[in-house]
């Protein structure tokens, strides 16, 4: 029996009050599709379980190193690319995607709204030099997320399950 492929589940769910429940759901979904989930949420446990002899900064570094080890161990990263507190995905998730790329991992993401960034943006935009720009002059990408994500990652429209279906499909196609 071959070993299950390991999926690192990245996203802003760690900030939500029901983060453990969401992480367990994600783990069950991964297992349903024949994968093993590596979850930074489940790996790092509750706040109450933290080592109180460490400073806050040391705790952050400790959690960071644990997450990096999970990324090292995984085969695939699946990232929640929905916007977080503004018009960008969670920066920790983006960092994990980049780190996964550097370590040769396969990259997948999921997002509710696949429209180009400039269509999704609620705010005034104008066209200048062929590009849509916001009121500060910053241009918008044409993809549904920044090209540093949509370049290397395959993105599914919907939730985690859609991304897992996409991965399973790609594996069956020999990708």
């Amino acid at each position: 029996m071959s070993e299950k492929l390991k999926i690192y589940v990245a996203g802003y769910e760690c900030f939500l009050p029901n983060s453990t429940e969401l992480a367990l759901n994600a783990k069950n979904l991964c297992e349903k599709y024949g994968f093993e989930a590596l979850s930074p949420i489940l790996e790092n446990g509750n706040k109450e379980e933290r080592d109180i002899s460490l400073t806050k900064e040391e705790t952050a570094k400790y959690i960071f190193k644990k997450n990096i080890r999970l990324i090292d161990r995984c085969d695939i990263i699946v990232a929640n690319l929905n916007n977080f507190r503004g018009w960008e995905p969670d920066s920790g998730t983006c960092f994990e995607i980049g780190c996964g790329y550097a370590k040769g991992k396969k990259l997948y993401g999921f997002i509710d709204d696949m429209r180009p960034c400039y269509e999704k943006y609620i705010g005034s935009i104008h066209k200048d030099g062929g590009l849509w720009r916001d009121d500060n002059g910053a241009f918008f990408e044409s993809g549904c997320v920044n090209l540093m994500i949509s370049g290397p990652a395959k993105i599914a429209q919907g939730g985690l399950e859609r991304a897992l279906q996409m991965i399973k499909n790609d594996l069956e196609q020999g990708e």
């Binding site: 802003y12 900030f15 939500l16 009050p17 706040k47 109450e48 400073t55 806050k56 900064e57 705790t59 952050a60 570094k61 959690i63 960071f64 997450n67 916007n83 977080f84 507190r85 503004g86 018009w87 960008e88 995905p89 969670d90 920066s91 920790g92 983006c94 960092f95 994990e96 995607i97 980049g98 780190c99 996964g100 790329y101 550097a102 370590k103 943006y121 200048d128 030099g129 720009r133 916001d134 500060n136 002059g137 910053a138 241009f139 044409s142 993809g143 997320v145 920044n146 090209l147 540093m148 994500i149 949509s150 370049g151 290397p152």
Partner: protein, 199 residues
């Protein structure tokens, strides 16, 4: 000058990650950053800097689709990171509370490739203090946004995934100055002459 991972003393190469390229004055910023890097004894790669000629020798775009164009730009940036020793990233909030996602991805690539990691922000106070929105507190003391999502409380200005980043408060110049001070300390400690910053 700096001492690289192999103990060789040479000019450090820095990838200058950030949102500056999105703005109409990107060419001015590119020139300004190159001059600043020269002042501090660093070779700077601005994202739109042209690559050496062999850039795409391992990559052939399949067609003119959006995806292939995106992938080409991605590889261009990733290659700049690959040939650099350090990253200096503008991690200021962008269109909201989070830094630009492209810059954040580049930070992850840089860390994963073993570069030394530096960043700058206007406000380097802890994340909880920097957060501009309405804050609430859960019963267990966790500080959250108005939607009940926790805000990091690790005495660091950014998401904990940037824990290995030395964060300078200020501009790119402040970051370059800080990096040069660190490199000079290391040079002197190893018995070499520090790099003299041209004022």
């Amino acid at each position: 000058m700096f001492i690289d991972k192999n103990g060789v003393v040479r000019m450090p190469k820095a990838y200058l990650a950030g949102t500056e390229i999105f703005y109409p004055n990107t060419l001015e910023t590119q020139e300004k950053y190159h001059k600043l890097c020269e002042k501090y004894g660093i070779i700077g790669y601005y994202p739109s800097d042209l690559p050496p000629e062999d850039e795409f020798k391992d990559y052939e775009p399949k067609d003119n689709s959006l995806h292939e164009t995106e992938l080409k730009f991605f590889i261009h940036d990733a290659n700049h990171i690959r040939r650099s020793d350090i990253i200096i990233a503008n991690l200021n909030p962008y269109r909201g509370e989070e830094p630009d996602s492209g810059t954040a991805v580049e930070c992850g690539i840089a860390y994963g490739m073993g570069l030394r990691c530096f960043a700058f922000v206007d406000d380097a106070r802890p994340r909880k203090e920097r957060y501009k929105g309405v804050k609430k507190t859960r019963l267990d003391g966790t500080v959250t946004d108005k939607d009940g999502r926790s805000i990091e409380d690790f005495d660091r200005p950014l998401n904990l995934m940037f824990s290995e980043f030395t964060v300078f408060e200020g501009t790119m110049e402040d970051a370059l100055k800080g990096v040069r001070e660190i490199f000079n300390k290391e040079l002197v400690a190893a018995g070499y002459e520090p790099f003299a910053v041209k004022e």
